[in-house]
């Protein structure tokens, strides 16, 4: 534990009859861009608010740089928040909004600092305007400036890009990352958008139902999901029911509906019994039936293409297998060959090293975004 690491220990928050955050242990390294990722209701915002001091934990502690700040009032913590709805003070100008924190700490000469910060977020000429006269993107930047100017040890961002349209959001994602790198402050970013988290964060913690399912670098989480939830929530996964036949050194031999598949032991969370055998759609290739010999690959025969979607960069296929399950295959439109059509009979093959194996007791549908949630 170095300098100003943020450490959450056994952090719990219970509301009457409902546990929002369940015994959370988390260490966020100083100066990192950390993302707390999860669906609505998973407890990520509540966790954030406990760090900010806006919510009192039922149990557990929050430590910053070795100092226990759990019971400190928000105005005593060296932590600032960028709120989801920006929460800009409507009766103050942009200048006064940004200067607010400095003034409350007793600083008299705020002009140069405020102007400098406004320049950083490119809002220099809007200093005299009131929030109602600014666009959504501009308000978002004021909220950011207002928080950053206080040089907090930790900056908390509560889904700050949620209200922006797609293009602007992408722009702001890059901006935020740039600012964080430049300023060096620890950013804790709460979001339900997995693409956003993967783009911006150094470390991601995936939360579900009040607990952290998995934590690590984006690549790590993506390629080595620890649970069905993570495999479905980050990107998409094909999960097929299978059984472990035997362990052969550093490989697991699996049976999936009659087909023999291989997975590295290091990518398996469970080594025996019933399992979910998983592979990401973009790792899978389609071949016409009996086309090539795929000796080293995992091979699933007897699929029929049921849906083809052209998405510009790629073509997304749904392939129905003999046991009724539809698997997803994403193929990049390299132009090397023409795409398949609905009704075509195909084989699926992929490198064994891309297979992962998960506990069968987990829900294969966990983390899948349905129409209701969209």
């Amino acid at each position: 534990m170095t300098g100003s690491d943020l450490v959450l220990t056994s952090l719990t928050k219970r509301f009457s009859g409902f546990t929002a955050v369940d015994d959370l242990d988390l260490t966020i390294a100083e100066g990192s861009f950390f993302a707390l990722l999860g669906p609505s209701g998973c407890g990520k915002t509540t966790t954030l608010r406990m760090v900010a001091g806006l919510e009192e934990p039922t149990e557990g502690t929050v430590t910053l740089g070795g100092e226990d700040i759990t019971r400190l009032r928000p105005y005593r913590r060296p932590v600032n928040t960028v709120f989801q709805s920006y929460a800009l003070f409507p009766h103050l100008t942009t200048f006064e909004n940004v200067a607010f924190g400095l003034r409350r700490r007793g600083l008299k000469q705020v002009k140069s600092q405020v102007e400098e910060m406004l320049e950083l977020v490119e809002l220099g000429q809007y200093a005299r305007r009131k929030p109602a006269q600014l666009s959504g993107g501009q308000q978002q930047r004021v909220a950011l400036a207002r928080a950053l100017i206080n040089r907090p040890q930790v900056l908390l961002l509560d889904e700050p890009l949620g209200a922006l349209d797609l293009k602007l959001r992408r722009q702001m994602q890059i901006e935020l990352k740039r600012i964080q790198t430049e300023v060096g402050v620890t950013f804790v970013h709460v979001t339900h958008d997995q693409e956003e988290a993967m783009t911006m964060a150094d470390t991601i913690a995936v939360m579900n139902g009040g607990v952290i399912e998995q934590m690590g670098a984006p690549l790590d989480l993506y390629e080595h999901p620890a649970s069905t939830f993570v495999s479905n929530f980050l990107g998409q996964s094909n999960l097929a029911a299978g059984t472990v036949l035997e362990r052969d050194g550093d490989r697991l031999l699996l049976d999936v509906h009659g087909s023999r598949l291989v997975a590295p032991v290091g990518r398996a969370r469970v080594h025996q019994g019933d399992v979910w055998v998983g592979v990401r759609p973009e790792k899978v290739f389609l071949g016409a039936v009996g086309e090539e010999d795929h000796d080293d690959s995992n091979l699933l025969r007897g699929g029929v293409v049921t849906d083809v979607s052209f998405v510009g960069v790629s073509t997304q296929y749904l392939v129905r297998m003999s046991w009724g399950q539809e698997l997803m295959v994403f193929e990049q439109n390299t132009g090397a060959r023409t795409s398949f059509r609905p009704g075509d009979e195909v084989d699926l093959h992929w490198l064994p090293g891309h297979t992962f194996v998960l506990d069968a007791s987990q829900d294969a549908a966990a983390g899948v975004e349905t129409v209701d949630e969209a």
């Binding site: 806006l54 105005y75 709805s85 924190g101 009131k130």
Partner: protein
């Protein structure tokens, strides 16, 4: 029917509704215009009911009629004092009801609502009954009026401030605390400025209710004479035209306040 006919019918319907509405507005404004007009009246006799002649005398000699100006003064004093107390107490209650926890909330709601829903004659007579039972029948006057006025203004203040306060996003106060403002600073720099329009509106409402009150005041006034009571008395005897002067002044003052308020609001939101 054809597009043109349907469109024409809609146009006609709109115009009819608007026309009717304007007639009603005219009906509402008419007596006010009469008041303004009659403030310049030179009455031919003490019981005159028509416009007899134009004169500036009423305006130059406003305090001519006996007790007119002293009654206005009484009304102003009671009004200001009652407004002060009612606005203060009512605002405190509004804060408690919106932001704090206490038991008996629904009971409180009922007792705040009831005075607004009672006829003034009942409110006034019950307060009188209290004073009489307590042995104060002989000292009815300024203070008894004041006590009664605060009572019925309280409810209006609570409702007005509550409405404004409920619309205030609590996240603004959280943001303030996040930015190093303690509870007092948050209240003073964020909550209060944002609730203030509501408190001001409540104060204005309270003042106008108090100044204009007759029924409750009449029952509890003893020898004291407020402006509405003066008018009442004059209506029995002779109506000095200066009454209309006061009425006109009140109208112009209030109208200017509203216009100023609207202009101020527009300037603040930057339009």
């Amino acid at each position: 029917m054809t597009m043109a006919m349907a469109h024409g019918r809609r146009w006609l319907g709109d115009r009819l509704v608007l026309g009717y509405a304007l007639l009603v507005l005219l009906y509402m404004i008419l007596p006010v215009l009469v008041v303004i007009l009659m403030s310049f009246n030179d009455p031919a006799s003490r019981q005159s009911y028509s416009f007899d002649g134009f004169t500036w005398n009423n305006w130059s000699d406003i305090c001519g009629p006996y007790q007119l100006c002293s009654s206005v003064e009484e009304s102003l004093k009671i009004g200001l004092l009652a407004t002060l107390v009612a606005t203060a107490l009512g605002s405190l209650m509004a804060f408690a009801m919106v932001r704090h926890h206490f038991r008996g909330r629904s009971v409180a709601n009922i007792f705040i609502f009831l005075p607004m829903a009672s006829p003034e004659i009942v409110l006034g007579s019950s307060v009188l009954a209290l004073f009489v039972s307590a042995g104060f029948a002989g000292v009815l006057g300024f203070w008894t009026i004041f006590l009664a006025h605060v009572m019925f203004c309280l409810s209006f203040v609570v409702v007005t401030v509550k409405a404004r306060l409920s619309g205030l996003d609590p996240r603004l106060e959280q943001a303030a605390m996040d930015l190093y403002a303690n509870e007092w600073q948050t209240f003073w720099r964020v909550t209060l400025p944002l609730v203030f329009p509501g408190i001001l509106a409540a104060a204005l409402l309270s003042f106008s209710l108090s100044f204009d009150d007759f029924i409750i005041t009449n029952l509890n006034s003893g020898q004291t004479v407020t402006f509405p009571m003066f008018v009442w008395g004059a209506a029995q005897r002779a109506i000095p035209p200066q009454i209309n002067v006061i009425g006109t002044i009140m109208f112009v003052l209030a109208l200017s306040l509203v216009v100023l308020g609207e202009l101020g609001r527009r300037r603040q939101s930057g339009r």
